[in-house]
Amino acid sequence: MMYQQLTDAMSNSSATLTTLQGEIASGLNYNTPSDAPTIMGQVLTMTDRISSLNQMSDTVKAVNGSLGAQATALQSAQGVVTKLQAIAVQGMDGSLAQTDRDALVAQVTQLKATLLDIANTQTPTGQYVFAGGNTGSVPYQLSPTDKTSVSYLGSSSPLRVQVSPTSYEDVAVPGPNAFQITGADGKNISIFQVLDNLNTGLTSNDQTKMTDAENNIKSISDHISSAMSLVGAAQNRMTDITANVTELTTQSQQVLSNVRDLDYGTALANLQKQQVLLQASETLVSQLSRLSLLNELK
């Protein structure tokens, strides 16, 4: 009877010791839900939250990649447009000879090709940044027949990406929002058409056409600037979100660590205590075994 009780006490002590050793080995307070059902819930929730925050940060990085590519492209485009503006002004100089203007035409054609390349910029992952929502296909296409006119085949709507559970971000501005303006006649005209008109004006020394083109180039330059500020603002928002996500991740990890990580001091003290208890029980058994009437009957 007494032996049975002692045996039970010893087996309890060794079970507790095993649990403590498990905790010390894993460095975690709780290993299974039954150890602490409510806290384990928190642990699971926090783990999922950290995982989703990491994903959010990845998405923001991807969006930022597209925005960065577009910002760079817009800057290059602005440089090209500034050069074109100078050429248009130069071309309007009545004292120029036709050969000079022809040289300008060649330059304009060259710069138009550069602009076309810029308008078809891709991100490192292969998305066309000026294609609006149609990121998978070339947005500005040179007419295969006349090899001069350029048409926009991208989407008029940007790709709207969910960057957090509640907010969406337009990944990039569609091409026409940067490279197209409404002309003085109220009709929409793209930079490529403007350059074609400039070339016609230069070739035929048509001052009106050149003046129109010069004005339009100026408007497009403004338009590109406003697109740049849109993209810049979006980049700022992404930076804010990234900072926020980083902060939240740190906090979540802190909370997770608070609830889950083992307090080694307490655990080791408990280990010591349990070992002493076990030893005590064992000593007791050996003591008890000597207690018997038989010993006294010799």
Partner: protein, 1013 residues
């Protein structure tokens, strides 16, 4: 002396017995179930004479078992309780180990699924993110399968454990029975053999480890055993019989277990077993397995259905409407036949959405030569043969059946086990929305961009009756009259469901107006207060602000200014009537032309010029809207005859009868120049040199026909249009008139002419009404107005017939019916007004494309435009006259002739508007009614197992100490204590020695006597 010897001998014998009993006790100190025995000594009988009496020594009266039946029973109960907790703890720990991991469980898998959604929506055109989502979707299904299978296996193992324990119980029961028999053999003995009783008690303890029992003892010591905590119900074992215990599992729900005795011979159900190893496993099934499995299945079902709902609402990379990603229904298997036939049954799933997941039984009925299939849970039945379709399943019988043949059909897996990927390729993931919004890049001045999403269309007006509930519908479309109480003014009486045609309604005692749900008024008096245009009255949100009277009371179909060029009339419309023969077939040439007779008109009658329209011609003639006065009926009839061509008006008392003329006309361009002209009318031949002579010749012939010439044309008409006896039949002619019966009998209509004032129509003795010929693709609302004294509404209509189920709820805006397309196949245009503050929406698939079906004020702070089943969000400020288009994503649904900015739509590959909806599933807290998301619910159920395990472990510790106490209590009474046995031994040894001394003293006394005599 002899006494002395016999006393000594009695002591020797008694103490030898006592020593034997003590030795036996010591020897059995470690024998399980051994009960301490005690020799009971008593003084032996008297001897001597009457004066003195001397005791006769000692004798062993009995050997007592130191047993206490209460303590034994207590010990058994405690043993059973510990047994139960042990198996519950064992089961729950196993369950927790299998599904409780915080890093590798289903929760983590769901999280990575939603992470893959996030990656995919950020770059839908990328094959890599698509493949990533595809594999995440697959591993999520596999995770569900793993968890489902694990729990199912654990459930099966537990049932097997219960069966093992039941076998053990049956073994013990048999042993108890044979011990009972042995005990009964010694029934006549004074003391039943202690060993048998020890065996009996030992068996009872073993039994109570497996299940809680109650006992009754016979005088002989034989035991009767009952299941549970009270000695009632059928006995499991008694002196006369022994039963067999069986666990019966519900084939279709392994969490349900019941116990019966003698299942093979005479089944007798017993009380549920709640303690012992068996009870512990039963509790584990009901507290651990069943709720967890149910929850996991529920999560699997909700997750799968939610993902499928998003997927099927979108368009995949192949430009097709998304197919469900997951298959969710359970698999079914049939077992049987139970009797003799050689037939077989294969069960397959035809419609997963309605599969019940319940079990079925099929029984063959030889007399009717058919199978009767019954749902075991609901009792729903179906009969048939061959391939029977029932509740989403197909039961396919083959072979020859005999009467009474039975098949059991049961679900073989649960949702979590069977959820599997139903698509085969990442390109089938529907990332794109069904509709795309585009800006008109070529012409828009503003740089606003638009994105569209599909939303659920407004449901049929809630709480509002459809027209068939107000005006009962007969086969011929005619209806009865319904009284509308005066308090129902400015209230919607009924709605005309989309697709209803040939509507012809009229009212008396009050007016009614007809609106679209977007607030476009089609017919009736104009309203000044639009506050009744609420959702409660069936209008869509914003209808009151967008009230539109552009199409109010406008008539004319093709090229007119009516809503969608429909032929509406606010007034009366009459159709020609054709007679039928006895067989119900129309009689050729027996038309009565369309006729309208007014009620009594008060003269003098004053009408506003051009306020009415008769057959589309303005009436009465006059300048602008000047008043025109008619003094008597003939005055009015004559004016109608002179100003409206093709009708005949006749005054009948104060009424006017207006009838469509029956006539044929030859247009001048078909008449050859220069005669002679010939024509055969109703069998009479006429010819003349000129048209006028021909007309005169016809008019003079008196055959009830008038002929006339005007502007080079030639017209023949019946002189009495209402006369039905003769038709107008045209034969051979050289005027270009088609031969045959004149069957072109147009309808006659009298209506308001684009005015909103209903006074004119009433002044000429007609009730206000509403007519619509062709079906519309949207619901119309009938609203009672000016209903001050109570009104009646009556009329006829033709319900849509294209769908098999003529239920009106099926005819909401998205549904298809004859001639209409679902909203996702139409093309819409959003056009901003010239000041940019308003927009109007038109359906460019309809004719005419310019009809504005909805309009509204644009709100830059909430730049959302919504109609039917789509919603467009604008980014940036739209400018004056800017145009946006909403088109189907699916190329096949785009109109070939109308490209509406289609070239600038995102393609089905690169659009992400649909896939972003999937992210919402992760955070949706409304699935379980407890504000938990799917992941949280799973976590909660894992924690629930943890909590139950922790609780069971505490109970186990408690029960263990209760058992220890019970054991102590029992051992104090019945256990062998070595110390006390040793003390007894010394005691008995000394008494034995003393007794032998008595004998030796007696011997010495005897010797002394012998020597001294």
């Amino acid at each position: 002396m002899a006494d002395l010897v016999s006393i000594g001998v009695s002591g020797l014998s008694a103490y030898q017995t006592a020593l034997s009993v003590t030795s036996n006790n010591i020897a059995n100190v470690n024998t399980p179930g051994y009960t301490e025995e005690q020799a009971v000594l008593a003084p032996a009988g008297m001897s001597g004479n009457d004066v003195i009496s001397i005791g006769g020594g000692v004798l062993t009266q009995s050997i007592n078992r130191l047993s206490n039946s209460f303590l034994e029973a207590n010990l058994r109960d405690a043993t059973a309780a510990v047994g139960a907790q042990n198996s519950l703890v064992q089961g729950l720990s196993q369950l927790q180990n299998e599904i409780g991991s915080s890093t590798a469980g289903l929760s983590t898998q769901l999280q990575s699924f939603f992470n893959s959604v996030s990656s995919l929506q950020a770059n839908p055109a990328d094959a890599g993110t698509r493949a990533n989502f595809f594999s995440a979707a697959q591993s999520t299904a596999e995770s569900f399968n793993d968890v489902g299978n694990t729990i199912q296996t654990l459930s099966n193992d537990t049932v097997a454990q219960i069966n093992n324990a039941t076998d053990t119980v049956n073994g013990i029961l048999k042993q108890v029975y044979s011990v009972n028999q042995e005990i009964n053999l010694h029934a006549s003995d004074k003391n039943p053999p202690a060993t048998l009783l020890d065996q009996r008690d030992q068996l009872l303890t073993q039994l109570s480890q497996n299940m809680g029992i109650s006992t009754k003892y016979a005088d002989s010591g034989a035991v009767t055993i009952y299941a549970g905590s009270s000695a009632t119900g059928p006995a499991m074992v008694s002196s006369t019989q022994v039963s067999t215990l069986s666990a019966v599992t519900d084939n279709y729900n392994s969490g349900q277990i019941s116990f019966v005795l003698n299942q093979e011979s005479a089944p007798q159900p017993i009380k549920p077993i709640t303690t012992g190893v068996i009870g512990g496993y039963v509790n584990f099934l009901s507290q651990g397995i069943t709720p967890t499995l149910d929850k996991i299945n529920q999560i699997a079902n909700i997750f799968g259905s939610a993902v499928n709902a998003v997927q099927t609402n979108g368009v995949d990379a192949n430009g097709k409407i998304g197919q469900p990603i997951y298959y969710l229904g359970p698999a079914y298997a049939a077992s049987g036949p139970a009797i003799a036939g050689d037939e077989n049954l294969s069960v397959s799933i035809t419609d997963p959405s309605i599969v019940t997941g319940k079990a079925y039984t099929a029984v063959y009925d030889d007399q009717k030569q058919q199978w009767n299939i019954e749902n075991n849970s609901t009792g729903a039945t179906i009969s048939g043969s061959g391939d029977i379709k029932f509740e989403g399943l197909s039961f396919n019988f083959a072979g020859t059946a005999v009467n009474g043949d039975t098949f059991q059909i049961s679900p073989t897996s649960t949702a979590a086990q069977s959820i599997s990927l139903a698509i085969t390729d990442p390109s089938q993931i529907a990332t794109a929305s069904q509709v795309q919004a585009t800006a008109d890049i070529a012409n828009n001045v503003g740089s606003a961009t638009a994105t569209a999403t599909v939303i659920p269309p407004p449901p049929s007006p809630a709480g509002i009756k459809d027209i068939s509930q107000v005006i009962s519908y007969a086969d011929n479309g005619s209806g009865s009259s319904t009284y509308i109480a005066p308090n129902a003014s400015n209230k919607t009486i009924a709605f005309i469901p989309a697709g209803t045609s040939a509507v012809n309604l009229s009212s008396s005692g009050g007016d009614f107006a007809v609106f679209t749900r977007e607030g476009v008024q089609i017919s009736g008096p104009a309203v000044t207060d639009t506050s009744f245009m609420t959702q409660a009255n069936g209008f869509n949100i914003g209808a009151a602000d967008n009230y539109n009277t552009t199409y109010l009371n406008q008539t004319g179909s093709l090229g007119g200014s009516s809503y969608l060029w429909q032929n509406y009339t606010f007034g009366q419309i009459a159709n020609p009537i054709q007679k039928i023969d006895l067989n119900g077939n129309p009689i050729a040439g027996s038309y009565t032309p369309a006729t309208i007779t007014t009620s009594d008109i008060t003269f003098p009658l004053q009408l506003t010029a051009n306020s009415l329209s008769i057959n589309g011609v303005a009436f009465p003639p006059g300048v602008g809207s000047s008043p025109v006065t008619f003094n008597n009926p003939n005055d009015l009839a004559n004016t109608i005859n002179s100003s409206i061509d093709g009708v005949t008006a006749t005054a009948i008392g104060n009424k006017i009868q207006i009838a469509q003329k029956v006539m044929v006309t030859a247009t001048p361009d078909l008449i050859p120049s220069g005669g002679p002209y010939t024509i055969a009318i109703n069998g009479y031949d006429f010819n003349a040199g000129s048209l006028q002579a021909l007309a005169d010749s016809v008019n003079n012939s008196n055959i009830g026909v008038n002929a006339s010439t005007s502007n080079g044309g030639f017209r023949v008409e019946k002189s009495d249009p209402a006369a039905t006896q003769v038709d107008l039949r045209i034969g051979d002619n050289n005027l270009g008139i088609a031969q045959g019966n004149s069957t072109a009998y147009p309808a006659l209509s009298i209506s308001l002419n684009g005015t909103t004032d209903t006074a004119s129509i009433k002044a000429i003795g007609l009730n206000a009404g509403f007519q619509m010929v062709k079906p519309l693709s949207e619901d119309l609302l009938i609203v009672a107005v000016n209903n001050t004294n109570g009104m009646q509404i009556q009329g006829s209509y033709q319900l849509p017939t294209a769908t098999a189920a003529n239920t009106l709820a099926n005819l909401a805006e998205t549904s298809t019916y004859a001639g209409a397309q679902p909203a996702s196949q139409r093309n819409w245009q959003i056009k901003f007004s010239s000041d940019g503050s308003h927009y109007s929406i038109s359906d460019t698939t309809q004719i005419p494309a310019t009809t504005v079906v909805s309009n509204g004020t644009f709100n830059q702070s909430n730049p959302v435009i919504q109609y039917g089943n789509w919603k467009v969000t604008l980014t940036g400020a739209p400018q004056a006259n800017d145009t946006f288009y909403v088109n189907p994503t699916i190329a096949a649904n785009q109109p070939s002739s109308n490209v509406n900015g289609q070239q600038n739509a995102a393609s089905a590959v690169s659009d992400n508007s649909n896939i972003v909806q999937l992210a919402a599933i992760a955070s949706n807290q409304s699935y379980f009614g407890n504000n938990l998301t799917l992941q949280q619910s799973y976590t909660a159920s894992v924690n629930d197992i943890g909590a139950k395990l922790a609780q069971a472990q505490t109970a186990q510790t408690t029960q263990q100490s209760v058992l220890t106490q019970a054991q102590t209590a029992r051992d104090q009474v019945s256990g062998v204590n070595l110390d006390s046995e040793l003390a007894n031994m010394i005691k008995y040894q000394q008494a034995y020695q003393a007794s032998s001394k008595i004998v030796s003293t007696a011997m010495q006394l005897f010797d002394y006597l012998i020597q001294n005599i």
